[in-house]
């Protein structure tokens, strides 16, 4: 079986009458890192919370590793670890105690060696016996991750794991996430930072207003939409693009002072060298060049606005 999580026709209408999810269909592949992207209020947390058993679905089904999350909740939930979006931690307990609690809660016998390893992986070793109230926000985030990992889940949900986390910890976290994927853990994360998804994910799903609007391999998505633009600021304005430059994806600004060349980052060759050569042949001089890429950010913004 390929899909480790299979969401079918899932809807959620909150008691307030607000529909947070509309007929979501989504398959997460075994062993992948899946990034769920969407603006505030898109329904990311709602989706995750339903899969994890914190929110009741209004309709539809979810299978986790083949187990229905409601009928067969024990089997389903024991595979899943969740790092929630909010920093909800205990206060008076120590880091180690709270991890032992989590492990037991998920039905695993105590394993001090494993707990020690997770503490080490998350650089929490020196805080292991500190009360959580004495930790900084970033450390609390790590504690939440440590708790989620304490029962050795093979599916891990990270709901905005990098909120309030510094660069260093972010890098450590991605390293850890990749390491976990090596060990066969499937990771589903949500984020607002598109570069993050670009950096870490194998596949990306985009959700907006409770609907999945796109799911695609990251590389395919980037190839499909990852156009890059080269802007040339001309020394002297020209009235039209010379005939000799036909066949190239060129655009001239209204005043004739800027030339925009669009090319595919993932193409065989960019064609920049030949463009510059041919411009030279036609006696077109430029004083500056600026290159920009359409990042996931742009893709995302355009997709979301298309839907509106």
């Amino acid at each position: 079986m390929n899909a480790i999580i299979s969401v079918k026709n899932l809807s959620k209408i909150y008691a307030s009458g607000f529909q947070a999810l509309r007929n979501i269909d989504l398959d997460i592949r075994r062993g992948e890192i899946f990034a769920l992207l969407g603006p505030n209020g898109a329904g990311k947390t709602t989706l995750i919370n339903i899969i994890c058993g914190i929110v009741n679905p209004s309709g539809g089904t979810v299978l986790a590793d083949g187990h229905d999350i409601i009928r067969d909740y024990r089997a389903a939930r024991s595979k899943i670890g969740l790092v929630p979006q909010e920093l909800t931690t205990d206060v008076f307990e120590t880091v180690r105690d709270t991890m032992n609690f989590s492990r037991g809660l998920f039905g695993k016998p105590p394993d001090p060696v494993y707990i020690e390893k997770v503490l080490g992986d998350l650089s929490l070793m020196d805080k292991a016996d500190t009360k959580i109230q004495a930790l900084s926000g970033g450390m609390k985030r790590r504690v939440l991750i440590a708790k989620a990992l304490s029962h050795e889940p093979n599916i891990l949900f990270l709901d905005e794991p990098t909120a309030g986390v510094d660069v260093e910890l972010r890098r450590d976290m991605w390293e850890m996430v990749r390491g976990m994927r090596e060990n066969g853990v499937t990771i589903i994360l949500t984020t607002h930072y598109i570069e993050e998804a670009e950096l870490i994910a194998d596949r990306i799903g985009i959700i907006n207003k409770g609907e999945i609007i796109l799911v695609e391999d990251k590389t395919a998505l980037m190839r499909k939409l990852g156009k890059r633009q080269l802007k040339l600021y001309l020394q002297n304005p020209i009235s039209s693009i010379p005939g000799g430059l036909n066949g190239l994806d060129l655009e001239l600004s209204k005043d004739g002072s800027e030339l925009v060349y669009t090319f595919d980052v993932h193409g065989e060759e960019t064609g920049i060298a030949s463009l510059l050569k041919r411009l030279n042949e036609h006696g077109i001089d430029y004083r500056d060049i600026h290159s920009s890429e359409s990042s996931l950010e742009e893709i995302f913004v355009s997709l979301v606005s298309e839907k509106r």
Partner: protein, 253 residues
């Protein structure tokens, strides 16, 4: 059965108890001692024996029950309200546990604490009045049943409450009056006939009466009825908790 989960919750809750041990023990023992001084010694000396039991001894079971009930409710309600308040409840909701396991963990820990306290009160009482225990086995049984039932009740209140105010309201507005009017300090036969009838609607009467019977062999109502009513209360609480977990009432949106 997820025994590790039960164990985890129990240990976690007991750790909370140990951290606050002094205030948990000090305040009930102090207030009970005050009751003994005021009711047992000062007033009690002017009140004759009730059904052959000296007044000081007569109020012992009521005071123990008073502590057990109020401690059970406050411990259990706080135990489940706190994770709801801080949000850490997400973990319990996402864990592979059934409501039975959650219940055994939380209620077990809360009941342990109130039974320990009840026993301490019983021991403290011994400093003030000599008494003997006629049916120790039944006494332990009533102690346990009452502690468990009221912890369940407290658990329900903790889930229902959406503010600290509500958390304190029920014990203060309902349970304290019922306990005081439930024959802690008097035999219901000392009441006018009409009030004797009305009092029988108070479930606490049965608990105190049953407990008193296990100590002295005297009771306001038949001990079998006491036991039956206690079990009934227990069953109602279990049913409510089952419903809460089934629907996710106040736990899941």
């Amino acid at each position: 059965m997820n025994f590790y989960a039960i164990r985890s919750i129990y240990i976690f809750e007991m750790a909370r108890t140990w951290r606050t041990l002094m205030q948990s023990i000090a305040s009930p023992i102090l207030s009970t001692s005050l009751y003994f001084v005021v009711f047992g010694a000062a007033i009690g000396s002017r009140v004759g024996d009730i059904e052959g039991v000296s007044y000081g001894a007569f109020i012992v079971p009521g005071l123990v029950m008073l502590t057990i009930m109020s401690e059970s409710i406050s411990n259990a309600s706080f135990g489940i309200y706190l994770p709801k308040f801080t949000g850490t409840i997400y973990e319990v909701l996402s864990a592979p546990v059934s409501y039975i396991e959650v219940l055994i963990g939380y209620v077990g820990a809360a009941a342990t604490k109130s039974i320990v306290l009840g026993t301490l009160i019983l021991a403290t009482a011994r400093l003030f009045v000599p008494y003997s225990i006629l049916h120790p086995f039944w006494m332990a049984g009533f102690l346990l049943l009452t502690a468990v039932s009221f912890c369940l009740f407290g658990f329900i209140i903790g889930i229902w409450a959406d503010g600290f105010q509500k958390l304190q309201m029920v014990p203060l507005m309902i349970v304290t009056p019922l306990t005081f009017l439930g024959g802690s300090f008097y035999s219901i036969y000392m009441l006018p006939p009409i009030w004797q009838k009305i009092t029988l609607f108070n479930p606490v009467v049965y608990l105190i009466s049953g407990f008193r019977w296990s100590l002295y062999g005297v009771s306001d109502v038949n001990v079998a009825v006491s036991l039956g009513m206690t079990l009934l209360f227990l069953a109602v609480c279990i049913a409510v908790v089952w419903w809460i977990f089934k629907t996710g009432y106040r736990l899941k949106s």
